[in-house]
Structures are given as structure tokens and as C-alpha cells.
Symmetry: C2
Subunit: 343 residues, 2 copies
């Protein structure tokens, strides 16, 4: 609390015998002073332990904080149990970091989405939201603060940039693939805020609702188990529920690869074989899908690109750009060995 007062621009200025403005220029606008003076300033600054302009004061003066906020629907551990989230975040972080911006993390609580007070105090001048429930209070706070917003995989909001993929189309591809292989009895595995067979409500996440639409477009009515989150363990127990239905589904449509990995395990738990007894298809095409046992048939979406695009959009909003049309990234079906013709 009372360590010795740190040196400031003024300290340096008077140590060197120039004005504060000049020292500031030494750091920010080298062209505004002679090289020799600049060098002297930097040298003296270093010698008295001045580590450069204070980021906060600089932010206040320039009116931007060089940080982008990242709001997440889940606690970090839940979010990162799904590699898809990590990959998106990595794409975002590297774009943003490449432009000398920091990432301020606002993880979600149990009710989905960061706490409003967290969002209200976050130092960021643009925020990107990922997989928040549609009605998250955090979104309201962001708008109240007047911060530019980019959403990933969420319903369009007025005046907001957006990146998305064709979830409906992707889901349709997955379902059509199974349909063409002769499957007629399906189980659907999704995730949301709580576990159980899906009754009236259709889940909090737009992505999931969309995938559901796509699946149903093709397969019609089918039992849907919603997991409380997207990870293997939940996928495994959810799949177990679906597989214990009578008649047993011959194919499982999973709303994420993590869920599908769990489903593969559940099928094996029952002593059944993939794909001869049960076909499984995922969604995302995370790197591991290729190395699963058996390699997973899934819908590929460009995860890293999604993060990068979101980052680029955020950066653009930052300099006053317009949100523009939603960016829609392509999906495609990757056929591997977890699906086969029904015999």
C-alpha cells in the first residue's frame, strides 16, 4: 500500500530537464524529438526505474483502453472442457494480441453469463460475447455502457456485429447423411443449462436451437436429451439415456464433438459396436475428432476462423467501423468411421 511512490512522467521530465510533453513524445512519437534527446530520456528513465507511461492514465487521456472484453456463458472450467471454445478464444486472442490489445475475461456464473457488476467495471472498449444465453443480463449492461459489441453464435441484436455459421444447414447435413445410410430411429444429444429429456422449451442457446431445427428438418420427431454442458462425461450419461430407450436408436446426432466422444463411450459401455450397431455424428470437428475411436463423422465449422473474425470485427468497431452484415462462415460434413449404412 505504501511502497515508495513510483516515478511518473514528471519525475523523468525534471530529471532530464525537459518538459513532460517531451518525455511523453519520447515514448509515443519518436519523430517529435531528436534521436539523441530521446535516447537520453529513455536512458535516464530506465536508470530511475520508470517503466513507461502508466497504462491507466494513458487510457484515460486517449479514451481507449486497448483491451477487448470476452464474455462467456459458462465458468471457465466448463467452457474449456470443450476444445471448441478454446480454439475460438485462441483465434480471438491472437488477432487481438497482434494489434496490441489485451483480452479481459468475463467468465459466466451458474446462471449463464458474467455478473452484471463485473461487466459494468470491466475496462474494455469493445466486447465480444460467446455462447451466452440469449437473455443474459450481461448483454444489457454492455449496451447500457454503450460499448460496441460483437456476438458469436447468438441472435442478432440491433447495432451489433456478428459472426456465425450455418448451424441449421450443418445439422441438416449430418442428419441427411444418416438418413441416406438408412437410419430411421434417432437419438439427439444437445446441451443447455440443465440435464433431461427436452420437453416444451427448446434450450437457451441459439446455436442449439438451430441445430435442433436442422436435425428435425430431416429426421422429424426424435427423442432429445439435453446435457447440462458440453463435455464427455455428460455426453456419455446422456447417450446412455437415449440408448436405453425402446426401440433403441440406431443413430445418435450430437450437438458437439465432446458430446459425441461421450456417446462413443456410452455405446461401448453397452457392449455395442460403432458403427455397426450404432452410428454417431458430432458437430464442430475439433482436432481430436480425427483421432477418436473410431474417427468421428462430424460437421466441420471453422472454429479458429470464427475467433479471428470476431477479433477483426471487434478491432473494426473500435475504430468506429459499422457492424455491417453478419459474417457467416461455411460448414461441411466430414465423413469418417463412426457412421455406417444400417444393415
Amino acid at each position: 500500500m505504501d511502497r515508495p511512490r513510483k516515478p511518473t512522467l514528471d519525475t523523468v521530465a525534471s530529471a532530464v530537464g525537459v518538459s513532460r510533453a517531451t518525455v511523453s513524445n519520447a515514448y509515443n512519437r519518436p519523430d517529435q524529438l531528436s534521436a539523441s534527446l530521446r535516447e537520453r530520456i529513455l536512458e535516464i528513465a530506465a536508470s530511475i526505474g520508470y517503466a513507461g507511461p502508466d497504462p491507466i492514465a494513458r487510457s484515460l487521456a486517449t479514451r481507449h483502453s486497448a483491451a477487448v472484453g470476452f464474455m462467456l456463458g459458462q465458468p471457465l472450467s466448463a467452457a474449456f472442457s470443450d476444445p471448441a471454445v478454446s480454439i475460438v478464444l485462441d483465434g480471438l486472442a491472437s488477432t487481438v494480441d497482434g494489434h496490441d490489445h489485451c483480452l479481459v475475461l468475463m467468465p459466466g456464473g451458474v446462471d449463464g453469463g458474467p455478473r452484471p457488476s463485473t461487466v459494468a467495471r470491466a475496462q474494455a472498449d469493445v466486447v465480444v460475447a460467446y455462447s451466452l444465453p440469449d437473455d443474459a443480463p450481461a448483454l444489457t449492461v454492455v449496451r447500457a455502457r454503450g460499448l460496441p459489441l460483437v456476438v458469436i453464435d447468438q441472435p442478432v441484436l440491433p447495432d451489433t456485429a456478428r459472426v456465425e455459421v450455418d448451424d441449421v444447414g450443418g445439422a441438416r447435413m449430418a442428419a441427411a447423411h444418416l438418413w441416406e445410410l438408412g437410419h430411421r430411429r434417432f437419438g439427439i444429444l444437445t446441451f443447455g443449462l440443465r440435464a433431461g429429456f427436452l420437453g416444451g422449451r427448446d434450450g437457451a442457446y441459439r446455436v442449439i436451437r438451430d441445430r435442433l431445427v436442422g436435425y428435425r428438418d430431416v429426421v422429424g420427431a426424435a427423442p432429445v436429451w439435453e446435457c447440462a454442458g458440453s463435455n464427455r462425461a455428460m455426453g456419455r450419461s446422456g447417450a446412455r439415456e437415449l440408448l436405453s430407450l425402446t426401440p433403441r436408436p440406431t443413430a445418435l446426432l450430437c450437438a458437439s464433438d465432446e458430446l459425441a466422444f461421450g456417446a462413443l463411450q456410452a455405446v461401448r459401455d453397452l457392449g455395442l459396436r460403432i458403427p455397426s450397431d450404432v452410428s454417431v455424428v458430432g458437430f464442430d470437428d475439433v482436432p481430436e475428432a480425427e483421432h477418436a475411436e473410431p474417427p468421428l463423422t462430424t460437421v466441420r465449422q471453422p472454429l479458429s476462423e470464427k475467433g479471428r473474425r470476431a477479433g477483426a470485427l471487434a478491432l473494426r468497431l473500435l475504430v468506429g467501423g459499422r457492424p455491417g452484415e453478419p459474417t457467416r462462415l461455411p460448414v461441411s460434413l466430414v465423413e469418417r468411421d463412426s457412421t455406417a449404412r444400417l444393415t
Copy 2:
């Protein structure tokens, strides 16, 4: 860039007809004014679209930013491919968030550790470093800025708080367990900055060096394959290298569970059985270890607790606390089904 100027404390003050100090108090010290006036202020503030005190200006005035920085040794995607990292980060984030602090992420680049310029501009008043290479330049910058620092799993630095586990002891337990089961031919799988059999150098991470020491204490010399990172795919191919040695190891010591998961797969790839042909032990005890096939024998360390402790320490340094003695968390061996007596 030129959206209409946002309302400030002054705007509100004059709209209400009170002084700026009073409006500030309405937000920060409700006891300093009458409830009725406070209510009126908040109401008018809302009506003119004032979303509360600007976080940056507030930070400047109070001289702290309510943010803790988190420096990481790897890019996000690499870091999060290992659930251990996510769990630690989650523990940290929830502690910190519970005290109304944000987390500022500073992911590493290819050379390990965030870029110095990123660190120099980050708005945080304390930073915690996790799994950085020992000589990361980022650490230097933090100290130059005079920010309090807490390190997780890293060599002790002067005037720095630290949390760690007994890596040497844990590794010893794992090795001793296998030794007692009769194993004499070992393969060791670790991770670091690049892939290959370990020759002279002993890796960039202290954690890994310690685990290696523990393994070797018990098993003596043994081939060591260093993966370029800690994930399944790398573990799988690394284990493949070890298993193709002659004579083939009967037991694999893996420096992380992720690596061990890969190793399990590699063993199966070769048509061998676990644990009858090859025993495998991991390190970390991530949640999935229990559900692996077979369930993984591993060294448990309290990952979430590690993050929480680091958070608590950071918060303490923030209010001027002394670093104190390093916090050392206990490890223990969890015996499951991936290890068995050599027959």
C-alpha cells in the same frame, strides 16, 4: 470515433442539481447521502443514459485497476488442450471474480510467455504467472513495472508469492508404485518446448524438471521423450516412440494426464493391452482420468485449489500483503486400473 459524447458524472450532477462529489457518492458510498437523494440521482442517471462511473477514470483516481493479469506460457489453444490449465484458471478466475476483479489474459507466443510489449501495457495491478519458461522476458517486464507477482509452479523469485505442489515427491510416488509392481523397464513422457528424445538439456519448465528428478530417483536412467506440448495427440506419438524401443518399456511414466491419455491410445494402437502388457501412469488427476479406458492411475494434485490459492495470494499482495512463504499443496497417488503387477 465520433459518437456523441457520453454522459459523465458532471452531466449527471448538473442534471440533478448537485455536486459531482455527491453523484460519485451515490455510486460508491451510499452512506454519505440521504437515501431519497441517492435514489433520485440514480434514476436521473439512468434516464440520461449514464451507466455508472467510468472504470478507467475510477482506476486512475483510486490508483488500482481491479484487475489481475494472467500470464501463460503457451498460446491459448495449446494451454487449454490440457484440462489441468483450465481448472487452475477457473479456480483463479472464480476467486478473483468473487472479489470484483477482472482477469486480463496474456497468452504466450511461440517462444513461451507473453510479449513484453503486451505485458508493459496491461492494466492490472498484480499478475500471476503460470507455466512460463523460467527465463521469460515477460517476468522481467512485470518486475520493472513494480507489479506484485505470484507464480504458480515456477522457480522462486525474490519478493514474489508462489504456489506449488511437491512435484518431485509426486513423481517419486508414481515411479515407486510401478517399481513395487515389479517393473524395471520404463519410458518417460514429458513436455516442453520441442519434441524429441531428451538429451543433455532438461526442459524449460521447472515442473517438468522436478517430475523428471522424481522419476529418476526411483527408476534411474530411462529413455525420455519430450513432447512439444501437453495434449493427447502428442502423447500418442511420443508414446509410440517409446514403445518402439528395444527392449520395449513395460511401464510408461507420463508427466501429465493428457499425455497419458495419448499413451493409452498408443498402446492400443500397437495391439497391446493395458495394464497387462504395458502399465501407464499419469500426473494431475484431471476429472477424465477416472473415466479413461482403463481408468488411469495418476498423481493427484489439487488443481482448482492451486488456482484459488494463487488468486487469494494475488488479492493479498494487492492490499499490500507480504508474499510470505511459498504455499505448498499436497499430492497423492490415485491407483486405478492402468497399472498392474508385471507378470
